[in-house]
Structure formats: C-alpha cells, structure tokens
Symmetry: C2
Subunit: 336 residues, 2 copies
C-alpha cells in the first residue's frame, strides 16, 4: 500500500496564511470500497479561490474541514480501481486535494481526460480547466464585449486575466491591462496583445484613475475585475455609460480587511452594473469553450502560460505566489 503525503489545513488562516496553518503528513492510502478508485495525483491547480475555502464562511462550497487536506483541482492517473469506467492507467481530472493520492468514486465530479487532445496535460488545469472557462464565459456571457469597445482587465497578467485580454482582443476590442511591475506589464503588450499596460505598483487611486482615463478617453465599457480595492474604484471612476463589470475575484481583499468599493455611485451616474461570476455555472457548456479556445490556440491566436512549481513539500510557497503576484502564468504544483 503506497504512502500518501497530504497537505492538511490545520488552522483557519487569520488574514494572510502562514506555514503553521498547514501540515504535511504521511499516512497509508486507505482501502478502496466498492465503486471507489485511487488517483495518483500528478498536477494540482493553485487558485485564489482556495483561500476562501479555508475560511469558515457560507460560500458556494463548504469550507475545507480542519485536519483535511487542502481542496484543489488535480489531474492524475488511476492507480487502482473498484469502479466501473475507471481503469488503472486512465488519466482523470477533478476536485481532489493537495496530496499524492486521492480517493474518488464513479458518479462524482472526477472525469476521464485524454492527454492526446492537448499539447501538455497541464493545459487541463489552465486553458481547458476552470481558468480558461472562467475567462471565456465570464467575458463573453457576463460582460458581453462588442467589437470597438474598450475592455479593462485587472490582474491582467494572471492566469485568468491573460486569457481574458486575448479573448477581448480577438473580439475586436481595445484592451487595457493592469498588472504589477514592469516585467508583467511588458508581457501584457508583448505576449498577450494588450493595447495598453498600466503598472499599479506605487500608485494611488488618483494616479490609476488618470492612467486609465488617458488610455480610455471615452471610458471603459467592460471591466473584468480580479482585484478589488482601489483598483476597482479607479476602474469605476472610468466606467462608460451602460458599462458592465464582471466580478471574477477580489484578490487584494482575501487576506486583509477589505477597504471596500467607495465609488459605487458611479454605477448610478453611468447606469452600469457589477455582476458576480463563477465558472461552476457553465460546466455544461465547457465543451463549447474548449472547442472555440482550442481552435484559437491551435491557430496561434491564444497563448497560455503556466507556472509550475515542483513538489508537494513546496505547496505553501507555491500557493502564496498567487498573493505576492510572483507567478508567471497559471500556478500549478507538480506532485509527481
């Protein structure tokens, strides 16, 4: 019976997670019951949303129980099976945990995947996973950009943002991205095709407002919001009439007391809206998103970056990159 390293949540983080909130333990893999199968996890997706699951809050998913491994989307290979339809050696993807081996069952959310369909199997955690689908459905279904409109993306160099920017560009929009630091900003324009990159570092809200206004003299029709705080407020200051803000995340507020959105009155002045979006609502349409984005990717219109850190023992440091912004693409942890 193989040994299973598991990265447990031992304490609910108070603000920014610290190493002591977690513990890496080793235990035996359990015996499988009928209908279950054992997955050897190869890669795990590290996402800002996981921070929310660590809190004891009413959300779209129950909190991660204390003492349980940290919930994460993973891809891996079936190691042993007592379930019909899941044979040893089959690649699968699903919502599992940061651990070497996960137990799952038929009829759950674990789905077979075919690595032959994609350039790299990890693409199932980026372009063809929650990240890509969030960008696709969040932009097209919630924000409804039209050719000629101006789109502002915050967290623009991040996993979701970098795809959103490219999708908006394919749509024929003028695309402005906000990111942290000259390196990421260069990437926005040089690699992801953004028209304008704004570096938020060291700038207050007024400075950000001015830079957005300079890039979008007629206002921004769409904001794809990943950040919140003064970055959202600066965007609100520049929202155009009937503007649409797709609220995907508020990463600046996950580890601190939120400063809050103080510019909501702009929604009244401009008859604009903020709408929350969650990829879970679009599961049944993932095929549509995958087909369309897959075609664009094959045609070289869509590039996707992945930042892969190696080793379950580095789970904490890898996860914290998301908040420091030190990842260069979709954050993935290689487990095996």
């Amino acid at each position: 019976m193989p040994q299973n390293r598991r990265f447990l949540l031992q304490r609910r983080p108070d603000g920014e997670p610290v190493p002591e909130d977690f513990e890496l333990i080793t235990e035996d893999t359990p015996e499988l019951a009928d209908g279950q199968f054992l997955i050897r996890n190869h890669y795990a997706s590290l996402d800002p949303a996981m921070r929310g699951w660590m809190d004891d809050a009413d959300s779209y998913m129950p909190p991660i129980p204390l003492g349980a491994p940290v919930r994460a989307s993973t891809i891996g290979v079936v190691e042993e099976s007592r379930a019909d339809g899941f044979e040893k050696g089959q690649w699968v993807m699903g919502l599992h945990a940061l651990e070497d081996y996960s137990v799952s069952q038929a009829g759950g959310f674990t789905q077979p995947i075919d690595p032959g369909m994609v350039p790299e199997v990890t693409n199932f955690l980026s372009l063809f996973g929650a990240v890509g689908m969030t960008a696709y459905f969040g932009l097209f279904d919630v924000c409804e950009p039209k050719a000629g409109e101006t789109v502002l993306v915050t967290g623009a160099a991040g996993a979701v943002g970098s795809i959103v920017g490219q999708l908006a560009k394919i749509t024929g929009c003028k695309v402005i991205g906000i990111a942290g630091g000259p390196e990421k900003c260069a990437k926005l324009t040089e690699r992801y095709g953004y028209d304008v990159a704004i570096d938020y570092r060291g700038k207050d809200q007024a400075a950000l407002e001015s830079e957005i206004a300079a890039a979008a003299p007629n206002g921004v029709d769409v904001i794809f919001e990943n950040v919140g705080g003064i970055i959202l407020d600066a965007g609100l200051e520049n929202i155009a009439m009937k503007g649409r803000i797709g609220l995907c995340g508020l990463i600046s507020e996950y580890n601190t007391d939120p400063v809050g959105a103080r510019n909501l009155w702009r929604l009244i002045v401009k008859r604009a809206k903020i709408e929350g979006l969650l990829v879970a609502d679009y599961v049944e349409r993932f095929g549509e998103g995958a087909a369309t984005m897959g075609e664009w990717a094959s045609a070289g219109k869509l590039v996707v970056d992945e930042h892969i850190d190696d080793g379950l023992e580095n789970a904490y440091e890898a996860f914290m990159r998301l908040f420091a912004g030190s990842n260069q693409g979709k954050m993935i942890l290689k487990i095996a």
Copy 2:
C-alpha cells in the same frame, strides 16, 4: 417687474452642507427674450440627488455653478410668456431652481401639466414625478421582482422607498423594509404594507445581517438600495442566488467619506448583480408608469405621503431633513 428671491449655491459643501454654503438674495426678474417664459414657482422637489449636483464632479448633469440658484424640479404657473405654447396661467413642471421665478424656454424640459389630473398638484413632484417613476422603473425594469420572491428596501420609509415597498407588495413579494426609528418602522408595516420592518438605529452590521436573515431565511432576491454603507453590506450578506440589487442611491455616503462596500465577494458567491438606475432613462415611458400607478392609487392600493415645508427662506433646513431622515414623506418646499 416682480422681485425674485433666489437660493444660491455660494460655496461647494465640504461633507455636510452648512448654511454658509448658501445665500438667499433678492433681485429683479430678468427681461424675457423671444421664446422664453417666466414661471412663478409654487412647489419645489427636494431630493438627495441635489447634494451630488453641488459637488464639482463628473456626473450625469453638470455641477450647479457657484453663484447660481440651487437646481431643483419645480411646478409653477406661467406668469409671462414670449414662447408659443406657454400661455400666462398655464401650470408647468420642469427642472428649474429654488427661486420665486424661473425663466425657461420652449423646446426645453419644461412641460405643461394639468392639475385636474391629480388629487393634489404636488403629486406631480411625488407619485407622478421623478420619485414615483424612479420607484416604478427602478423596481420593475432593473430589479425584475417576481411573485413569491423576497424584496428588501433600504430607506424604506423615504419618498422612493415607500412607493417601492408598495409596488413590490402589489407584485406578490414578501417585502422587508429598513428605516430609522420606531415611528417610521410602524409606518412601514401599518401604512405601506411591508411584511417586516427593521429599525437600523443603534445597530451594527452584524445585528442588521441577523435581522435580515431572520426575516428572509432563504435570502433576499431583490434589494432596492437607497442607503449604502453597512446597510448595503448587511443586505449583500443576505443576497440570494442570482439576486438583483437596484442601486438607486447611497444617501449615507453623500456627506461623508464613503465607508465602501466590503461585501462585494457575496456577488461572486451568489452570482448576483448591482446595477445603477437613474430615472432620466425612462422619460419616454413616464406615461406608462403614471397610468399604472394612477390606477393603483385610485383603487386605494398605493398611498403617497408628502412632507411640505413652507417658504424659500427655509430651503436649507428643509433640504437637510433628507439626511437627518426627519421628513415624513416626499420632501417638498412650498414657495408660493
């Protein structure tokens, strides 16, 4: 030539307006040019939105110029006319100012009205004016309540809120209102037909959250938001899946630095939206709103309260009632 008392904006208020920001002067009424007419103002509408017009901010309307009379909707009688279609003695309504006499012109926003159509001519500033139309189109067009849903109205005893609550009730919704003080709360349930009244006075956000949750165990499907601050955050905490928040006003924030909305993450969790609304978008459909609400009012299903203070010399005190919440109905200033 009659003397014209004019209530001027002399200084832009810093936070809460003080008497020194204004000045009541007397001057001659001007000579009319061709196409102009002179209106003897009888009643003026006092609205929270006027506070925004006093700031030097980019909004849906230019700021009131310093030294100009405070802009307001008024109803009055044509005193003298050099414009076709506006005869002496005709009642009119339009966006004029807090002054005895206003000059207007044909082809502008001043419209003839027929006092015989309504129980009281002041109803053109309440149920059949911007207030009533804001309630009607804001609720039905932006919030789209359905029978059986739960609707939360903040500023529920106010001019707009008291109408919104009744419209939601007519729609077949469960209606919860938040207002300040036992007197207003009694009015919510006894006069406006609210199912539940919540008194916000002396309560923190957590207490408000609990009271809303107790009244709406399955969450609130619609929020008609007039207040902002912790009241909006408490509502966000209780928003139901796919909830709709019509943002009509943020009166708690007009005279202070906004505390900001710190619960926007609830929009993501519940895939809900906040949408700004402004009555100006519905001018062409006012007839529809007036006909429907007029019928309900005649049938006794819709009551409207007006709080009429007397005298241009009391303009400041009357206006400030809106922020103290000491008005009992739509705030109107009698000028003559």
